[in-house]
Symmetry: C2
Subunit: 401 residues, 2 copies
């Protein structure tokens, strides 16, 4: 990596500093008050699909201070609809950072000790270049934006690290799609991470998940307001379709245990069923809220591109081996120099423990040091974001080694 | 029950005989070539919601011959989007009956021995009165159709049985929503069934299923062509929304095992990923086909009403007991005179074995004879419709007793 001689991240000429808003945000149906640092890449970003992006922008947040020896950086990769606001309030919703309970001073990922970097993934809509951004012709990309992969997201992360002067990571950490990015970094840039913490993820998207992702995309595309993705500036975003997509996805993030305990068959603000189509049940009301709230902070086309990247994800596809995926996966990890920690949750049926075990087995076969734990938590796939003290201990323990 | 003196079902003056089409079908976006027998009820059908339906029509198919002592009748109740064509070709798709492998001469439900009755449920769209039917004002009901319950469906079945001169059933049989109807019949009309065979069902819709049903309804209602349900005769049905609803539901009927074995990450008619939004993966292509094909045979409003009835289903809600559902369920079965057989499938995550066990425990506590088996089959919830020889043996065995 070419490490530019910068002393304080965010103050290199390469950086545009705090941005009041992305240039494309005026064309966005959602007003996106991006307040992050933004890096504009000076070199074209080559993509797996064969295209390249000129002047791609990566929005990111940092927490803590980079040591003089630059040895204390941790890259946190966010999930599908996550963002760079891992430990600071979301600029649209005002809610605390999505991993505020895990990242901060004295917390399991201790920003008194570590320099934490969290980029918004390529293809997203919180400041990084995505389908809502302006293409070279000055119009929003829309569906002209190239289809990207998880590895393309990581390419952008690597360019950001380079610009920040970080050539080695103390650790890369991610849950769900963030875990896939962590795996991709470890396999494709084996010199960068010293530790790899992968939570509730997979090495290759299972068919069930591909199926749910396709349902979500079809829901968006079925909305006439989608208009082939060219809805920016029309005043009509495909909110209805995006809301349905979010509802369908949200159900898969939960467990029957959570749903039963949290809602069961309890009615919403009424004593009896309405014999109508209102949200009689609390779970119906909750889902509708989740769907609607999501449209206020997320761009529909970004949802299409990011879920597409996920369904394409197969960490081992480029590696030699028989038709057995497991054999290729062992080859994928052959160059790895990191130590790994894999975490799964017993109630996560979307990225079940079996998916983590496949990774653990391949790492072990490749002679790579790995620890693994299946945690018991009632919250399904969402467990990695929620109050699971045992996860805190695992994270802190792994980072202390 | 008032049993009319009819000799051959379908030839009473109460019956309209073979109908070329439902009066409402001209207003339906789907041309519904109903060829079933149709009973028009001479008395208003009282509904749980407090309304009543005048001149409700029940389309049904029968197979085999009713014995002179009228003791060999079996009522088969169909699932959410099923129909009366249990063992005869579907009039729209031309496909064999949905349980053709189970019902017929010499088959587990042997029509050489049994007189099989299969009605189209109230609220559906294959000849029975539903939202696509004409209201008394001569216009399609649309969303003016009253919200119905599983028990309302069964009320219509009971009226049909009465008209057919069947006061006792050798058995009532159903899978999924059909199983809920069988349970409702056994609890609310305990004098009718002698045997109750319930497959892959529940006594009260779990929150996860309510959630998925809500996603499906929201997908339909998000389609501008839905127009508040008043799309009949407009030439524009909410096919896009209904297709998304079907896709989301269809995923829940399958197992990860089925999806992995049937599709895995295999590409559809191409050697490499397209880096686009076509259906690259076989599972995507399959789902899109399932969604589209469904719109050709099913009415979107019927989908709303039937899933609403399912989400409302709680067999025990009217029975005394503490807040513990299990206690009320025991009371629900107190008057039962039937023998029960419960079947679940180990890969069914939508109506898992635990749901069947709750019913078995309540029946046992109520002193009702019950047998139970969890079958091993790879097909998820759909197993009850597919090639599971062990299920054939369980059905034949239970009906032989």
């Amino acid at each position: 990596m070419d490490v530019p001689p910068i002393d304080r991240p965010g103050q290199s000429p390469q950086f545009e500093g705090k941005m009041p808003s992305d240039p494309a945000s005026t064309a966005l149906s959602i007003a996106s008050p991006v307040v992050s640092d933004v890096l504009e890449l000076s070199s074209p970003l080559s993509l797996d699909g064969g295209q390249s992006l000129v002047a791609a922008r990566i929005a990111y947040e940092t927490y803590g201070t980079l040591d003089a020896d630059r040895g204390n950086a941790i890259l946190i990769c966010h999930a599908t609809t996550g963002d760079q606001y891992v430990a600071s309030p979301h600029p649209i919703t005002g809610k605390p950072g999505w991993w505020d309970r895990t990242v901060g001073p004295g917390k399991p990922i201790d920003t008194d000790r570590f320099y934490v970097i969290c980029p918004n993934v390529l293809g997203s809509c919180l400041g990084s270049t995505g389908p809502a951004s302006l293409a070279p012709d000055g119009q929003p990309w829309g569906m002209r934006f190239p289809v990207i992969t998880i590895r393309d997201m990581v390419r952008a992360h690597v360019a950001l690290l380079e610009a920040l002067g970080v050539s080695r990571l103390y650790a890369v950490v991610g849950g769900s799609m963030g875990g896939m990015q962590a795996l991709s970094l470890a396999v494709n840039w084996p010199d960068i991470p010293e530790r790899v913490l992968v939570i509730a993820a997979t090495a290759a998207m299972p068919a069930l998940n591909i199926a749910f992702q396709e349902v979500g995309r079809q829901a968006v595309m079925a909305d006439p307001n989608w208009q082939g993705g060219a809805y920016y500036g029309t005043g009509h975003a495909p909110d209805a379709g995006l809301s349905v997509a979010r509802m369908a996805a949200h159900v898969t993030y939960l467990s029957e245990e959570t749903l039963s305990e949290k809602f069961g068959r309890r009615l919403q603000d009424r004593a009896a069923k309405s014999f109508g189509f209102d949200a009689d049940f609390q779970v119906e009301s909750y889902l509708r809220y989740q769907g609607t709230a999501f449209t206020e902070r997320f761009d529909a086309n970004s949802y299409l591109y990011i879920t597409r990247a996920m369904s394409y994800f197969d960490l081992a596809e480029d590696f030699p081996g028989s038709n057995h995926h497991s054999e290729r996966l062992v080859h994928a990890f052959a160059r790895s120099k990191a130590r790994f920690c894999l975490v799964s949750f017993d109630t996560d049926w979307l990225y079940p423990t079996a998916e983590s075990k496949k990774i653990v087995h391949a790492l072990s076969a490749a002679g790579v040091p790995v620890s693994f734990v299946e945690l018991s938590a009632p919250f399904g796939h969402d467990s990695f974001l929620l109050d699971v003290p045992e996860q805190d201990r695992v994270i802190a323990g792994f980072l202390a080694q």
